[in-house]
């Protein structure tokens, strides 16, 4: 049944974990709406045949649809639409939130190529190599204009915007090669901005990993943090300073000033760099400036890897700081 419908609707293979669920909703929505549309049109044709004019100037009685009938029709359609919405919104939410153990890959888009950087320092152009059955989280940014990372076989798409870091994730279900397309118009060679995902089986992936990596991102992260002045407000040993410490931060629950609790995942970290006023950690002052346009993509990747590497860092004994820090002390600092 599934394969018949895939063929009928000309859909690509379902190569990610959520692709089947999305397609199931697709089948439901398309069949319901097309049946509804057919019903309406057939009804119209039936009225046409049944009520065709018998003689010129024929008069008709005034008929007004009773209000209860109208509300019945509206209520019926609305409830069907709301089912679409509830299922669609929950699937969307699932697709938007990467699992905690997802393996990060840093994606940089530029006119007209895709660059993939892995946590161990490898990088590749226009080929994304991932293991099958393991969630992969893409941390994406663009160098120039807006692009969109689209893998039809995964049913996933995410705009890639300069100055912002967006995450998207997938878990491949099949090995093989799947096309990646740019889906946001980006200039003259937009239609040639193609790449592919190479999904490897576990043994093949292990073999691929045997090629030595080229450098340690987390170590580079320390240099970046020093150079960009991050360390004048954030510590690496767990002591709170003007900003929260990075030790043990990754993957922890952070209480925000408005009382909500968020998970300190990659999305949170990159957002805090680019849009620091959006989520203020409780009991800290909103003094951090945005680093949008200040630090570039490899530096962000390095910083995130540094914070991830500090996940299990032992926390140093806390020193209580005075609560009133002078304003204006939070500008990006020159290298010390």
């Amino acid at each position: 049944m599934n394969s018949l419908l895939l063929k009928l609707l000309d859909l690509p293979p379902q190569a990610s974990t959520y692709a089947f669920d999305v397609d199931l909703l697709h089948y439901f929505v398309i069949s319901t709406t097309m049946l509804g549309a057919t019903f309406v049109f057939v009804l119209a044709l039936w009225f046409l045949v049944r009520n065709r004019r018998r003689y010129p100037g024929e008069l008709t009685a005034r008929v007004v649809t009773p209000v209860p009938v109208e509300f019945l029709i509206i209520g019926g359609i609305l409830s069907v639409f709301l089912i679409f919405w509830v299922v669609g919104a929950s699937e969307y939410s699932h697709m938007q939130h990467p699992p905690e153990d997802a393996m990060p890959v840093y994606v940089t888009a530029k006119q007209w190529m895709w660059k993939f950087a892995y946590a161990d320092g490898r990088s590749d152009i226009d080929v994304l190599t991932v293991p099958v059955h393991r969630p992969v989280k893409l941390v994406m940014n663009s160098r120039d204009v807006i692009h969109s990372f689209y893998v039809p076989a995964f049913r996933m798409k995410q705009d890639v915007v300069p100055g912002r870091y967006y995450t998207a994730w997938f878990e491949a279900q099949e090995t093989g090669e799947f096309p990646i397309e740019c889906a946001e118009y980006c200039g003259v060679s937009h239609s040639r901005m193609l790449a592919k995902v190479h999904v490897l089986s576990e043994p093949d992936y292990a073999k691929w990993l045997e090629n030595p990596p080229t450098g340690d991102l987390a170590a580079r992260g320390r240099d970046v943090a020093a150079k960009r002045g991050c360390l004048s407000c954030h510590t690496l040993d767990g002591q709170p300073h003007i900003g929260p410490s990075w030790a043990g931060l990754y993957d922890s629950d952070v209480k925000l000033s408005d009382g909500t609790i968020v998970k300190a995942d990659v999305a949170y970290l990159t957002r805090s760099m680019m849009d620091p006023q959006a989520q203020i950690v409780d009991s800290y002052k909103p003094v951090m400036p945005t680093y949008r346009g200040v630090i570039d993509e490899p530096e962000v990747a390095a910083l995130v890897e540094l914070i991830v590497s500090l996940k299990d860092q032992p926390i140093a004994p806390s020193v209580v700081l005075p609560r009133t820090q002078p304003l204006g002390s939070a500008q990006p600092q020159e290298p010390r």
Partner: protein, 220 residues
């Protein structure tokens, strides 16, 4: 009561009487004001978003702007609005000459506003502040968002100044009509409509004043 001139505001052939025509014209102006408000709202939306994003830069910008320029200009516009309201009142009573002088005074204050604004722009230029974040000011002040603050400052006050200028032209046209006795107690609505437009220009400034002069974006 002064008699109508040779070419008074006449009732259009699609209207039954002057009252209906005047009502439609007033109503049309109010609808148009809705358009104008949304025209500015795009820039206000940008201001809000960028100010939330870069509070420190906007802080520096507001504090660097000279409060006297902004406040004097506010006073000038408010007084001019009072004059134009009086002018409409006088015209309704048939005192065309007084009304004419009041309109002239309004235009004078409007031009005064533009003069002060120009002086302020020149002051900014001499400080090395140009739209788009060029000028030596931005070498000394590197807070993120300060360039955006001044670009928005020039865009919003500039667009407002264009509106003031258009308002002055419209009022000038009304003055010409009053002097030719085309409008008067028998048909005061053209001036009333021009006055509504002038008040809108005034109100927009009332919102720009705190955003650019009064309230620093001090966080916390």
């Amino acid at each position: 009561m002064p008699s109508p001139a040779a070419h008074p505001v006449s009732v259009g052939e699609q209207w039954e009487d002057m009252e209906k025509q005047a009502h439609a014209a007033r109503f049309g102006m109010w609808v148009f004001l809705g358009t104008e408000v949304l025209f500015f709202s795009g820039l206000f939306a940008l201001y809000t978003a960028y100010r939330i994003e870069h509070p420190s830069g906007f802080d520096v910008g507001v504090e660097h702007n000279t409060i006297v320029y902004g406040s004097v200009n506010t006073a000038v516009l408010l007084v001019s609005s009072y004059f134009v309201a009086l002018a409409v009142h006088e015209l309704r009573l048939g005192r065309n000459r007084v009304s004419g002088w009041l309109v002239a005074l309004t235009i004078l204050f409007g031009l005064g506003f533009l003069g002060i604004k120009t002086a302020e722009y020149l002051h900014h230029f001499s400080d090395g502040i140009f739209p788009g974040g060029s000028g030596h000011f931005f070498e000394e002040h590197t807070e993120p968002g300060i360039k955006m603050f001044y670009t928005l400052y020039f865009c919003m006050t500039g667009l407002h100044a264009i509106h003031v200028f258009v308002g002055c032209c419209v009022l000038g046209f009304m003055l010409w009509k009053i002097s030719r006795r085309e409008i008067g107690a028998w048909a005061p609505h053209p001036l009333a409509i021009a006055a509504i437009y002038w008040h809108l220009v005034d109100v927009i400034w009332i919102f720009l004043w705190p955003l650019f002069y009064l309230v620093p974006g001090r966080a916390g």
